[in-house]
């Protein structure tokens, strides 16, 4: 993969943005797509729209990915200078102990405190899950005065995870859900299409697909493709029928998830295009989770919507994995699909 494309993934995944704090991601995308859009704008819920050829004939196509990531936020600062936190989005509490984080806008490096093993009883270690409300973050402060003006209640806390290559053709990093989708959509928006294109980088997906709800009302498309980073459980001792998706298996097409049934015609066409071009593809093999596509599908009188995803291991955790080939095949499949829609050769 070209260095430039990898660099975009690095920038997007290392950017920090829990739900409601997506500005850093939006600025990266705005800079990345400068010169490729007729209009770039943000709305009241801070969605970023990249509009291209809105006066062109043909179906209005929405390309969508969400900018927010799961993380934590500061709920309280103790007199001793420790930070109490809450969860922004769905994270298993058991992933939090002993991880490195970045706090607030400065940002301040910190660690999620993990009481020394010697100070825990065997019973605690074997039976007790440390819940998020019982955790604190240590930024090295000696009292609340140390952090005054540097950290405020409500500040975001993100995992301090750097992007890199890993193993045999993998990328490691945080927030592939859904910065991988943001990168795919950005790549598609660099191409000039003969039909109107609404690039919608949405906000607040992780807390209820909220950005897409109002964004799809503002610019309602005829066809919508939501690009995601989705669950791959091809790990450890998970049974093969529970893997949901697997890395290296190609772009993931959803039939049904926890929030919707995708459009049969569009999905069928995607499969035909994949087969015609010899591209791998796979179904999401468990009807769980939800994406912005559910909010877009139900905008106004309804929208033909599909969800296509890059499979990712360990999403909603401090560190996740995707496979380079899956990312590339997702970009290729969607490029071919849009070209087909336009009657273009690609």
């Amino acid at each position: 993969m070209e260095q430039k494309r990898i660099e975009l993934l690095r920038k997007l995944t290392e950017a920090r943005g829990i739900s409601g704090r997506e500005d850093e991601v939006a600025e990266i995308l705005r800079a990345e797509l400068a010169g490729h859009a007729d209009t770039v704008e943000r709305d009241a819920i801070k969605n970023l729209f990249v509009l291209k050829g809105m006066n062109k004939p043909g179906p209005r196509v929405m390309l969508n990915a969400h900018m927010d990531e799961v993380g934590l936020y500061v709920t309280h600062i103790t007199k001793e200078g420790y930070l109490h936190v809450g969860k922004a989005g769905g994270i298993d509490d058991r992933l939090l102990l002993g991880k490195k984080v970045l706090v607030g806008t400065a940002p301040l490096p910190g660690v999620i405190a993990a009481k020394a093993v010697h100070l825990c009883t065997p019973e605690e270690i074997e039976t007790k899950v440390v819940k998020v409300e019982d955790l604190v973050i240590d930024v090295g402060a000696k009292s609340d005065k140390d952090v005054a003006g540097k950290v405020a209640v409500g500040d975001q806390v993100t995992f301090a995870t750097t992007f890199g290559t890993f193993g045999d053709g993998y990328f490691v990093g945080k927030a592939f859900d859904d910065r991988a989708g943001c990168a795919v959509v950005a790549e598609l928006l660099r191409i000039d299409w003969p039909f109107p294109v609404i690039g919608m980088f949405s906000t607040q997906e992780e807390i209820g697909t909220k950005g897409a709800r109002v964004g799809a009302w503002r610019y309602t498309p005829d066809i919508s493709i939501t690009v995601e980073g989705t669950i791959a459980a091809d790990i450890g001792e998970v049974k093969d029928y529970q893997e949901v998706t697997n890395l290296g298996g190609g772009p993931v097409l959803t039939i049904k998830d926890g929030g919707m049934v995708t459009d049969h015609q569009l999905r069928k066409r995607l499969i035909e295009i994949a087969v015609k071009n010899g591209l791998p593809w796979q179904f999401k093999r468990m009807p769980a989770g939800g994406t912005d596509a559910r909010s877009i599908q139900t905008a106004k009188g309804g929208v033909k919507a599909v969800a296509v995803a890059v499979p990712a291991r360990y999403i909603h955790s401090p560190v996740s994995l995707i496979k380079e080939s899956d990312y590339e095949n997702t970009v290729t499949l969607l490029t071919k699909f849009l070209a087909d829609l336009a009657g273009m050769e690609a």
Binding site: L96, K115, K142, I231, M286, I315
Partner: protein
């Protein structure tokens, strides 16, 4: 922060693998010691000669680290691990290093909630469900990672506020840094007797490093310097010492009373604040072995306050390291004929 903090904590050496650190230590010790010896088990013993070699004072910092061992490569090429000295609740979501034929970064992930029962979610992840993902095909993993390879936390120092920092293995490499800082302070000072800085092995598993070092070096006094629990949110005050309050001094039968007096008056002379902590049969440090090896060595224990011990994010305060180094240097200065008289005088025994 001393540059050795980064260098020493970034190296990987689970108990038994300590020779991986010898080059770093040898180059740090060059010019500030007169002689360096390697013992059969891999202890590195550095000697700073005094005016007389009739007596010797030894300080020991252990250089091994906690980690896990690979027990199995499963059908998917994921690694099963075994570990006893680490709270298993820390592993999920962690990036680790696997030390096989070559170092491999790994991830210990967690199953997604969709394939988990509610019952499972309310309990810590059982050891059997911890698998290391190295992102390689099984055939390759089998060749690269023999069973028995070690798995460690990932290197990297995170600077926090107030000259505090977080890293893996501050237990006990920070104490190795302290001993080297003390030698740097003593660079132009003539010492009454030999000063031995021992970098010991296997403290986390057997204590045999200290045992054999004690035998090889046979000093008059052996002081272990290790980490101790610093104040931690949610832990009763009486179980910890204050972070940033200076080194801890252990009081109890493991510690020789004359050595304790030497430590106390040195702290006073060097104007180093200290905190007391107690132990009974075991201090949990190399001193336990010094006390009993051969004819016995008069033992002492100093400690550096540390939060989140045996985790990837152990936190320490550089001011405690600086103060401990000054205290170690002062003890070496005060270890003189008068003290030897006190130690072996009839009144003391």
């Amino acid at each position: 922060m001393h540059k050795l903090v980064e260098e020493l904590t970034s190296a990987y050496a689970v108990s038994g693998d300590e020779r991986r650190l010898h080059d770093i230590l040898r180059s740090a010790l060059a010019g500030i010691t007169d002689e360096i010896r390697d013992t059969p088990l891999g202890n590195l013993v550095a000697i700073r000669k005094g005016r007389s070699s009739d007596h010797a004072l030894l300080f020991a910092a252990h250089i091994d680290e906690v980690g896990a061992w690979v027990t199995k490569v499963n059908d998917k090429g994921f690694l099963g691990i075994h570990c006893t000295s680490i709270d298993g609740r820390i592993w999920p979501g962690l990036q680790v290093m696997v030390h096989g034929m070559r170092p491999l970064p790994g991830i210990i992930g967690l199953k997604p909630v969709h394939v988990m029962t509610h019952e499972e979610m309310d309990k810590p992840v059982p050891d059997d469900d911890l698998w290391v993902d190295v992102g390689l095909p099984r055939e390759e993993v089998v060749g690269l990672v023999p069973v028995g390879s070690t798995v460690t936390f990932t290197a990297g120092v995170t600077k926090l506020m107030n000259d505090r920092y977080a890293a893996k293995t501050l237990d006990d490499r920070l104490c190795a840094v302290t001993l080297i800082q003390a030698l740097e302070l003593l660079k132009n000072t003539a010492l009454p007797y030999d000063l031995i800085m021992a970098f010991t092995v296997q403290e986390e598993v057997t204590g045999y490093g200290a045992w054999t070092t004690g035998w090889c070096a046979h000093p008059d006094v052996g002081i272990a310097i290790d980490v101790t629990h610093a104040d931690t949110e949610g832990v009763p005050e009486h179980k910890t010492v204050p972070m940033g309050g200076g080194p801890g001094i252990t009081v109890g039968p493991v510690v020789n009373d004359r050595v304790l007096a030497l430590i106390r008056r040195s702290a006073k002379a060097a104007e180093v604040p200290t905190s007391d902590e107690t132990c009974m049969a075991h201090s949990g440090t190399d001193a336990d072995d010094f006390q009993l090896v051969g004819p016995g060595i008069a033992a002492g224990v100093l400690s550096i306050p540390l939060r989140y011990m045996h985790s990837p994010v152990e936190v320490a305060d550089q001011s405690d390291v600086d103060r401990a180094a000054r205290l170690v240097a002062e003890i070496a200065r005060q270890f003189d004929a008068a003290f030897i008289g006190e130690l072996y005088g009839t009144e003391a025994h």
